[in-house]
């Protein structure tokens, strides 16, 4: 936590502007660096919690039959694992990176709305406290899957579902405020000369992500509000008995849900677009096309939602439309992958930990993209739907996609945050163990999925036994490896070789023009951008 404590203020001490002493610094802070650190620590805590739940799931699936947990608890584990990883780990991690880096990258002194920034962070512990507490309530926590389809989440839900609904409301409000803050900062606080098309891609992808957030988080709030009314106020939005329709739930949910998956990946695209040029010692290939491709992905994400629901009985024309629209996303995504590869082409490559994670990101995210294309084929999806193939697909885009993107960013900017170089040897161990563990865990899921193993079931047919054991071993390896990451980060905060202002010789950008560690206040006078 000492990441941002400034070593003294010789020179101009006319007013105090270091961090406040003591614990209240973290409660009351409006400093973007403090809040960024809070978000990142919160996210890592949620990552370990959601990860332990994954360990329970994989332990139960280690062998066929029921050994460790009861099916009721298993359902709560799959549900909470999904909710905590999506809303507690990945999204807050990106908000943390945005808080830390966006003002540094555009030459702003802080976020545009610092007090709201503090509030949007402190809503999160409340939201997740509420959510996790449901596990200890009579009847158990949410057990209906992270997608909480009605009527499982309404008519057949445990009593605690109301707490789940309010938790979603709170995290939604937090995300919306965070997004408004990012938009206001990027549009209003750029340094003179920093035109939109000069912004680093991380800022661009976050700006577009923020617009996605304010467009779809209110729809999520709407759908849980409808659930609340169905459960407590006698309405029938999703109840066929009263004239509603459970399929409507899926439409509204996925109208939120599909843009949500891009919310979780676009900032990673941006970070990787900074990291690959640095370690290739070449400028990014096709900057403008990167910006437009991000915009195109964001637009398309609004018109593909029903590809999650091919099997509910939508008409043939609908299936065709959503199939083709989904496949169209491969075009801007392909542009991005092409640009990353072209950036590396004939570059002077070195493979420090951020680059290792970034290169693995490009390769493995592309594998996840290809399995996504397979799932987009409507007639084939009838075979894949709700099998482990789907689980393999979205873990390939989220783990080596979003999470490797976060690790790459963390290693890339740790010297700037802490003022110390991290332990490169350990970081490479972290990478290779994560890489092997993650592929061992998720690759066999493609095979068992294609062979018909259904997801969200605590038991399986004997024929899937070997692959599941491999998956579990890989998952345990991946899970344990993340404790190494915690150790590396703590070690880096506590000491290590002093980092220069620009620890990466190929790096480019305003964030490297301030000393390491970044002083508590930066760019109080805006830099001049040429």
């Amino acid at each position: 936590m000492s990441a941002v404590i400034e070593p003294g203020h010789a020179g101009h001490d006319e007013h105090p502007h270091g961090p406040a002493p003591g614990l209240m610094r973290w409660v009351l802070t409006t400093n973007h660096k403090d809040i960024g650190s809070l978000y990142l620590w919160f996210s890592f805590t949620a990552f370990l919690l959601g990860g332990s739940m994954a360990m329970v799931i994989r332990a139960e699936l280690f062998q066929p039959g029921l050994q460790i947990v009861q099916p009721e608890f298993f359902n709560q584990m799959t549900t909470m694992h999904g909710l905590i990883m999506v809303f507690g780990a990945v999204m807050p991690a990106f908000v943390g990176l945005a808080n830390w880096m966006i003002p540094l990258m555009i030459g702003a002194p802080d976020m545009a709305l610092p007090r709201m920034n503090n509030f949007s962070f402190w809503l999160l512990p409340a939201a997740f406290g509420l959510l996790v507490s449901t596990l200890f309530m009579a009847g158990g926590g949410p057990n209906f899957g992270w997608t909480f389809y009605a009527p499982l989440s309404t008519t057949y839900a445990p009593e605690s579902v109301t707490f789940f609904i309010f938790a979603v409301h709170l995290m939604g409000i937090s995300s919306i405020m965070g997004a408004i803050n990012v938009i206001a900062t990027v549009l209003n606080l750029r340094a003179p000369g920093m035109t939109l098309m000069k912004m680093p891609l991380f800022v661009w992808t976050w700006l577009i992500t923020a617009f996605l957030l304010i467009a779809v988080m209110p729809v999520l709030a709407g759908v849980v509000t409808m659930m609340l009314m169905d459960i407590h106020f006698g309405t029938s939005f999703f109840s066929a008995a009263g004239g509603g329709d459970p399929v409507l739930f899926q439409h509204v949910f996925w109208f939120f849900g599909h843009p949500e998956v891009y919310i979780m990946i676009l900032p990673a695209f941006g970070a990787v677009s900074s990291i690959i040029p640095t370690f290739s010692r070449k400028p990014l290939f096709g900057y403008t096309s990167m910006v437009y491709a991000t915009g195109a992905i964001a637009f398309l994400s609004f018109i593909v939602w029903a590809h999650h629901m091919f099997t509910v009985g939508i008409p043939l024309t609908g299936e065709l439309f959503f199939m083709y629209a989904t496949m169209l996303i491969a075009v801007p995504t392909g542009v991005k992958v092409f640009n990353w590869v072209s950036t590396m082409w004939r570059g002077s490559l070195t493979f420090e930990a951020p680059m290792l994670f970034a290169v693995a990101f490009v390769i493995l995210f592309t594998i996840g993209g290809f399995s996504g294309l397979m799932l987009a084929i409507a007639p084939a999806d009838f075979q894949y739907h709700d099998t482990y193939f789907v689980v393999a697909h979205f873990h390939y885009v989220l783990v080596p996609g979003a999470i490797f993107g976060i690790f790459a960013s963390a290693y890339y900017w740790l010297p700037k945050w802490t003022g110390h170089l991290y332990d490169e040897t350990l970081a490479r161990w972290h990478f290779w163990l994560s890489f092997v563990g993650m592929n061992l865990a998720f690759f066999p899921m493609h095979f068992v999925g294609l062979a018909g193993m259904p997801r969200r079931i605590p038991d399986y047919n004997l024929q899937f036994a070997d692959f599941n054991m491999v998956s579990s071993l890989g998952a345990f390896l991946f899970g344990a490896t993340q404790l190494l990451f915690l150790y590396i980060v703590i070690k880096c905060i506590r000491g290590g070789e002093a980092a220069p202002a620009k620890p990466w010789d190929g790096a480019d950008g305003l964030e490297w023009s301030v000393p390491s560690p970044a002083p508590y206040h930066t760019f109080s006078t805006p830099p001049e951008v040429k």
Binding site: L113, I180, V219, L220, L248
Partner: protein, 182 residues
Amino acid sequence: MDDGLPTARLVRRLLLVVAAMFAFGFALVPLYEVMCQAFGINGKTAGAYTGEQQMDAARTVRVQFLASNAAGMNWEFRPLQDELVVHPGASHQMLFVAHNPSDRPMTGQAVPSVAPARAAAWFHKTECFCFTQQVLQPGERIEMPVRFIVDRDLPADVRHLTLGYTLFDITGRQGPQAQAVR
């Protein structure tokens, strides 16, 4: 660098977007209803039909009837006949039997669905027990009619339709839900 007013105005506009999108989530409910009925998708049939049609004696269509209970419903519920062979354009009636075997008065609501779903737009009900709630006293047994016309314009490749009803127990539910059901 902070130029005050533009930030405040920007935030107000963004909050407006948030409010509009929250409203849009709810607007999806009637929108979905309208789309389903306009295109006859999802097996949803329209409300009471008032038109009249000429019988097409040259063509026959098999209409099968299904009755099932939703979870928790204990009524006996079945059609008098399993199927009818009808001419498009002609009006037909089928009776469904409902019997409340319990020792308390109960309210039931039937929800119709047509398969194949794409044929739903051509299946018209002129009268249906599903338009209202059914209140049955303990042990009471009633016969409930549905009158229907299969449209002359039913696509030629559809020779076989299924009209299914699911009966829900709505005893004790408040609110005038019945109007919403078609």
